[in-house]
């Protein structure tokens, strides 16, 4: 189990991402927010004519709507992140991870060879991959490494 090697050779499609939740650019921010709350996800994919048009993330909601007091009735076309950075399902997981840390992205749309969106890779899924990779190491961490009994047991 060589994690360094696996990050370079295992591809993103191995991560069994759930099918992406997609909306159209004409849908409203209100709809996007409802979908994100319902599915407990941090972003929706905006698709037009079967092609990726953009993504709308919780960061977009914060910066482009809430912070500037714009209404939830705006369309996604007006406030989504257009042309987001993407990865291919055949790309190695390590490449996707580096892309996220360098760009500060928490979600990357995943495209197949025909440029169709097949999933969204979240930073949370990468964390899960790391933890799954060496469950023995991570899960054997004590719940509180600083737990010290204040009083002696017994007499």
């Amino acid at each position: 189990m060589d994690l360094t090697k696996n990050l370079k050779i295992e591809s993103v499609c191995r991560l069994n991402m759930s099918t992406p939740v997609t909306l159209s650019p004409r849908d409203s921010v209100r709809q996007a927010v409802a979908v994100m709350q319902q599915h407990r996800i941090g972003c929706v994919v905006v698709v037009q004519d079967g092609k990726l048009a953009g993504i709308f993330t919780e960061r977009d909601l914060l910066k482009r709507i809430v912070a500037v007091g714009r209404p939830l009735s705006l369309t996604l076309a007006e406030c989504m992140t257009a042309k987001p950075v993407t990865v291919r399902s055949s790309d190695p997981i390590g490449k996707a991870m580096r892309c996220m840390t360098e760009g500060g992205y928490r979600h990357l749309p995943v495209l197949d060879e025909q440029d169709r969106v097949v999933g969204v890779l979240s930073v949370r899924r990468i964390v899960r991959y790391l933890v799954e990779h060496f469950p023995q190491t991570v899960y054997n961490q004590p719940p509180d490494p600083n737990a010290v009994q204040k009083d002696r047991d017994g007499a």
């Binding site: 991870m97 840390t101 004590p142």
Partner: protein, 170 residues
């Protein structure tokens, strides 16, 4: 499970050798298989290093807290009370799940209404694997780094992944 002292073949998981009473517990401890795993297991949170936390007071309004997040380009602010005591954390996820579309006029309400109170924390000496475990278990992207009940820093999932990336590609 062969005793390294006397060579006696013990039952797997035995705590001491049935023949020579040698302590065998160390044989069952997880050992790192490669560089990244070793680093996560042995290096403390302080190597990242943690960023200085961006803080707000519980009485500040949601509007002020959101402005602070945008101006500092952070995804979460710590809500601290008197003496710098940590009361909660307010993140983008809270804006999405507790505010957007659910409240009218929330901008002028105090941030303490919508923060996540008593968040999970780590200390600077905790190992990276421990922090990663907490993030995975709770789905947290930020963990305050505490010393004596006061938040001294904050780490994000991005900090840990950046560290792993550097180890992987160096």
């Amino acid at each position: 499970m062969i005793c390294p002292n006397c060579g006696h073949d013990n039952l797997p998981g035995a705590e001491e050798c049935a023949q020579c009473m040698q302590d065998l517990t160390h044989l069952d401890r997880p050992s790192a298989q490669d560089r990244i795993e070793k680093a996560l297991l042995e290096e403390p949170v302080s190597v990242l290093p943690p960023a200085r936390p961006v803080t707000v007071r519980p009485t500040e309004t949601v509007r002020q807290a959101v402005q602070t997040m945008v101006e500092n380009s952070v995804g979460a602010v710590l809500v601290v009370g008197d003496g710098g005591k940590l009361l909660g954390i307010f993140s983008e996820r809270d804006v999405l799940n507790r505010l957007a579309g659910l409240h009218d006029q929330y901008e002028e309400l105090p941030v303490s209404h919508f923060m996540t109170p008593d968040p999970e924390t780590v200390s600077a000496d905790d190992k990276l694997a421990f922090a990663l475990h907490k993030m995975d278990g709770g789905g947290y992207r930020h963990l305050p780094v505490m010393a004596d009940g006061i938040p001294q820093g904050i780490i994000s999932v991005r900090d840990i992944l950046r560290y792993v990336s550097q180890l992987c590609f160096e």
